[in-house]
């Protein structure tokens, strides 16, 4: 016994890694009960920046643009082109590539201006400020993209 619980065998992966089953003690009667823990590593938001809580279906609908199959039921008018999921995938890859290029550029510039002491420039307060600005820019881009994805015309794709 350890702290009131009996020892039990662990789940070992095929390659010898220790695995933890997240539903090992699942019982239907536990559903709806007051949760015993709520583990949150997400940074605390400021009071005027409350995160919007969405449901699983909304997430699936949004991600379905990338994962789902295209419907070919919509007739294409002459001169028009249906927006297919592969277009969104290409757009997403292009956006990620652009993000990485910008990030690499910022990192390279920071290293160029840094002292040649061998210390990591990204640990400096000035660089942390730049990093915050950069994160804010990414957040802005992300929210705008999210807004585009949630428009009815795009939602219909999923």
């Amino acid at each position: 016994m350890f702290e009131g619980h009996p020892w039990r065998p662990i789940t070992v992966g095929k390659m010898g890694k220790c695995l933890l089953s997240l539903t090992e003690d699942f019982h239907t009667e536990l559903i709806g009960q007051v949760p015993s823990f709520d583990l949150n590593l997400v940074e605390k938001q400021t009071s005027n920046e409350k995160p919007e809580v969405l449901d699983f279906a909304t997430c699936q609908k949004s991600e379905g643009v990338y994962l789902g199959m295209d419907s070919h039921e919509t007739p294409v008018q002459p001169g028009d082109c249906n927006l297919l999921s592969k277009h969104w995938k290409s757009f997403d890859v292009a956006l990620s590539t652009a993000e990485n290029m910008l990030k690499n550029h910022v990192t390279k510039e920071l290293k160029c201006f840094g002292p040649r002491s061998g210390k990591c420039m990204l640990g400096n307060p000035a660089c942390r400020k730049l990093q915050k600005l950069w994160d804010a820019k990414l957040k802005f881009l992300d929210m705008n993209l999210a807004g585009i994805l949630m428009t009815p015309a795009i939602a219909e794709l999923s």
Binding site: G13, K14, L30, P35, N40
Partner: protein, 119 residues
């Protein structure tokens, strides 16, 4: 851990136990990680597993986030979603916030969550 290549064009990394049984409900304990994260593939398979057990997956709470994770070799990826997933361990139920990243990254439970679970 074994790499399987089932249906579709993507390679899926699915944990298997010593008997070779796929375990979509399992996470790997990763003391080197600072967060709890998983790819969208393993997340949806875990949700399907919960559904098969009778858990109402429509009640899973989601939040948008622009959190970037850095891996070795200058590789980084951005998480766009945080999911509050149910966990059933030690005969109790609780929740953990997990970052969802694109792709098939397996469930990785970082040290802070492991430590909290151990309390």
């Amino acid at each position: 851990m074994a790499i399987l290549q089932p249906l579709g064009e993507h390679g899926h990394v699915i944990f298997e136990d010593v008997d070779g049984k796929p375990r979509v409900d399992c996470t790997m304990l990763d003391p080197g990680a600072s967060a709890f994260l998983m790819g969208s593939g393993p997340f949806h398979r875990y949700a399907e597993h919960l559904k098969s057990l009778g858990y109402p997956i429509e009640t899973i709470e989601m939040q948008r986030t622009p959190r970037t994770f850095h891996f070795g070799g200058d590789h980084s990826t951005t998480s766009h979603w945080i999911a509050k997933i149910p966990i059933f361990v030690n005969s109790v139920m609780g929740f953990a916030h997990v970052f969802i990243i694109k792709g098939e990254t397996p469930m990785l439970m970082g040290r802070p969550i492991i430590e909290e679970l151990g309390h």
